[in-house]
């Protein structure tokens, strides 16, 4: 009888030991991976976005663009000031608004509004936008990100809660991203 087909008692125990470790490792890996991906999966399950009030309609004069700030709806105890967010509110007329994200559509720097030249300008790479948020010049491929808004009981509310980025802009505009 050749030794090739036999397996020693200790050899079998070693293989069972490896298998046992593999099973335990897999069992532990499942919660570990779920933990690591929690910031992604949580956003998909419950969504990070919700309606936030920016103040009364009368706070925003017609024909002007004003800076508004809000506290992000999803916060953790250590966020400090970083959970405060700014946005540009343009009241065109009556209940017609446009609410722009502060983040440049190029690489996210904070754009500033200049009523004199009626332009939004970015301090980082020279992006510029017209007053309606459309791209005027510079490296951005598109206009400013806009938050969906609604007027209810005299309050302006926007649907916000995620950092607007060029790749995720579809979600922000109210359309669902392809994989949601």
């Amino acid at each position: 009888m050749s030794t090739d087909n036999t397996i020693s008692r200790r050899g079998l125990f070693m293989k069972m030991g490896i298998l046992f470790n593999g099973l335990v490792a897999t069992a532990i890996a499942v919660p570990v991976v779920r933990f690591i991906l929690s910031s992604v999966t949580r956003g998909r399950a419950n969504g990070y976005l919700s309606w936030i009030s920016l103040g009364t309609v009368n706070q925003f004069p017609e024909g002007e663009t004003r800076l508004a700030t809000f506290r992000n709806p999803y916060v953790t105890p250590t966020d400090g000031k970083t959970a405060d967010t700014a946005c540009w509110v343009r009241r065109i007329a009556g209940e017609q608004f446009q609410v722009f994200a502060i983040n440049c559509a190029h690489l996210g720097c904070p754009v500033r509004w200049f009523p004199q030249s009626a332009l939004f300008m970015c301090p980082c790479h020279g992006g510029a936008y017209y007053q309606d948020g459309s791209r005027a010049s510079g490296p951005p491929e598109r206009g400013l990100f806009q938050y969906p808004y609604k007027i209810q009981d005299g309050l302006v509310s926007i649907r916000a809660g995620e950092l607007p980025t060029p790749g995720a802009s579809a979600a922000l505009l109210g359309k669902k991203p392809p994989c949601a």
């Binding site: 910031s39 966020d79 996210g108 950092l163 980025t165």
Partner: protein
């Protein structure tokens, strides 16, 4: 003395370390490698050890919380005895480490040290470079100020451009939907545990390979590397013309390492720590974020990429560069080592150095950014206003009030986003000026909706006066035929009289 020797013997009998250490220290190296060109690797290691030591000291005070990090840095800078100096050592150590790792890489490349049998040593070295840059970036994030905050936004914007997975990668990177507490915590984990752990492992591997394969001999023009004969030749060289590493070569490493440490300490003491700049409060938008020195070139490149190139360049560019670095020893594993006979290698280094230096220099004064306050702080030079009509002066007012000055310079003052306008009237006719102002184009926004016809007329009248005294403004020759006379159809806009 006998007692010390006895204690030493007692320990070594149990540790059995003296023999292997002596073997490593006294291993034969080619005499030609005892050179000042061969000191950068050990210097990088010494600065890395400095970073470990100072990093641990900073961790005694630093609080990795988005609400407290900035305050704890202020406390380090101002309250804790010599906290500012430890921060400065760590910050300057970081700059020195990136610089020395790059110089080391250039030296290895020019001396052909990546060729057979040291291909894997080079590949591990490329990963060490990536980790060093990773440490520099994550370290900048831990200095949780405005630059760090918006720098993270920049990183998120780049990551979001990955097809399909982009939004998920952003949330994984930020640890949530926005840049906040979880973001800082995970960058702290990366900077303090993950990347240093990998660095220590890879540095050990890198050193082990240098020891096992031997240090690259001084490249002689014409002495070609052949896989069949190299190991035999190298062995012969270390036997015939070799010397023990300690003390024959090591003294230069020691001197250079001490010099570098002294330089880091001198910079730290003289220039002090980096930042932190303003508080990481996203509602403070009066800020112009900028990355640290070694990422400035990237900041400049990002402003020059045309919009259509942005995503492909950001996603494909790094893959190509990394691929080229990793494949280099496998595509060019044999042959000539000496830089004297590798002109393309030398040109590659020169071209890369000039390119990176140029972009870094440009990022120093960001000509692509409008000067946000030029319209209110840079007056129009008086000589452009003297002997001008009321309309032309009105145009100068429009020029300031509508912030043209933010992008266009006059006499070197103002923005550099668009061309300087000192001689614009020579280049553009009246019609062309009107068209350019109203419709924009060539990276200029259109001002048609923002200027009344009267303002446009005044502005163009002013712009038409902007030409050197000895040069006439541009004129559309067909106008003379169409309108008769000197070709002017409006009394408002007339040739200016230069003083």
């Amino acid at each position: 003395m006998r007692l010390i020797a006895k204690i030493g013997e007692w320990f070594d009998w149990r540790l059995q370390l003296a023999a292997p250490i002596r073997e490593v220290a006294e291993h034969q190296v080619p005499k030609s490698t005892a050179s000042w060109w061969y000191v950068f690797g050990s210097a990088a290691l010494v600065v890395f050890l400095l970073q470990l030591a100072t990093g641990i000291m900073l961790a005694l005070i630093y609080v990795p919380s988005a609400s407290e990090a900035w305050n704890s840095l202020q406390s380090l800078n101002h309250d804790v005895t010599l906290g500012w100096f430890i921060r400065a050592l760590h910050g300057w150590g970081s700059n020195f480490m990136v610089a020395i790792v790059l110089i080391h890489m250039v030296q290895v490349f020019l001396f052909g040290a990546f060729k057979f049998p040291r291909e894997l040593t080079w590949v591990v070295g490329v990963f060490l470079l990536l980790m060093t840059l990773g440490m520099a970036f994550t370290g900048q994030v831990l200095r949780f100020d405005q630059d760090a905050y918006w720098g993270l936004g920049l990183g998120a914007s780049i990551a979001s451009r990955v097809p399909l997975l982009g939004p998920a990668i952003v949330k994984l990177m930020l640890g949530g939907p926005i840049i906040a507490g979880a973001t800082l915590s995970r960058f702290f984990a990366l900077h303090v545990f993950v990347i240093p752990g990998m660095l220590i492992g890879f540095v050990g591997l890198h050193l082990l390979m240098v020891l096992k394969l031997g240090i690259n001999e001084w490249p002689m023009p014409g002495r070609l590397v052949k896989k069949a004969t190299y190991e035999h030749d190298y062995h012969e060289l270390t036997q015939k013309d070799g010397a023990p590493f300690v003390p024959y070569a090591v003294w230069k490493d020691l001197f250079f390492a001490a010099f570098i440490l002294l330089a880091v300490a001198a910079c730290a003491a003289y220039f002090g720590p980096f930042g932190p700049s303003g508080q990481p409060d996203p509602t403070i938008i009066q800020t112009a974020p900028k990355p640290d020195y070694f990422f400035l070139w990237l900041y400049a490149v990002l402003s020059f990429l045309p919009p259509a190139m942005e995503t492909p360049a950001l996603l494909i560019g790094p893959v190509i560069v990394l691929g080229a670095l990793l494949l280099l020893p496998f595509l060019s594993g044999e042959g000539e080592k000496s830089w004297r006979r590798r002109p393309i290698a030398v040109l590659t280094i020169l071209l890369s150095a000039v390119t990176l230096a140029t972009f870094t220099h440009l990022a120093g004064y960001t000509p692509w950014s409008p000067h946000m306050d030029a319209w209110s702080s840079d007056p129009i030079p008086a000589r452009f206003l003297r002997h001008r009509t009321a309309l032309e002066r009105q145009g100068a007012l429009v020029f300031q009030a509508k912030q043209c000055h933010n992008c266009h310079a006059l006499e070197g003052k103002g923005g550099q986003r668009g061309p300087a306008l000192d001689g614009v009237a020579v280049q553009l006719t009246q019609d062309q000026l009107i068209r350019q102002v109203i419709q924009g184009g060539g990276n200029m926004p259109a001002y048609g909706k923002n200027l009344t016809p009267a303002e446009t007329t005044a502005l163009v009248a002013f712009l038409q006066t902007l030409h050197p005294a000895a040069q006439a403004p541009a004129r559309d020759a067909s106008r003379a035929v169409a309108f008769g006379g000197n070709g002017e159809n409006s009394s408002a806009v007339r040739p200016s009289s230069q003083p």
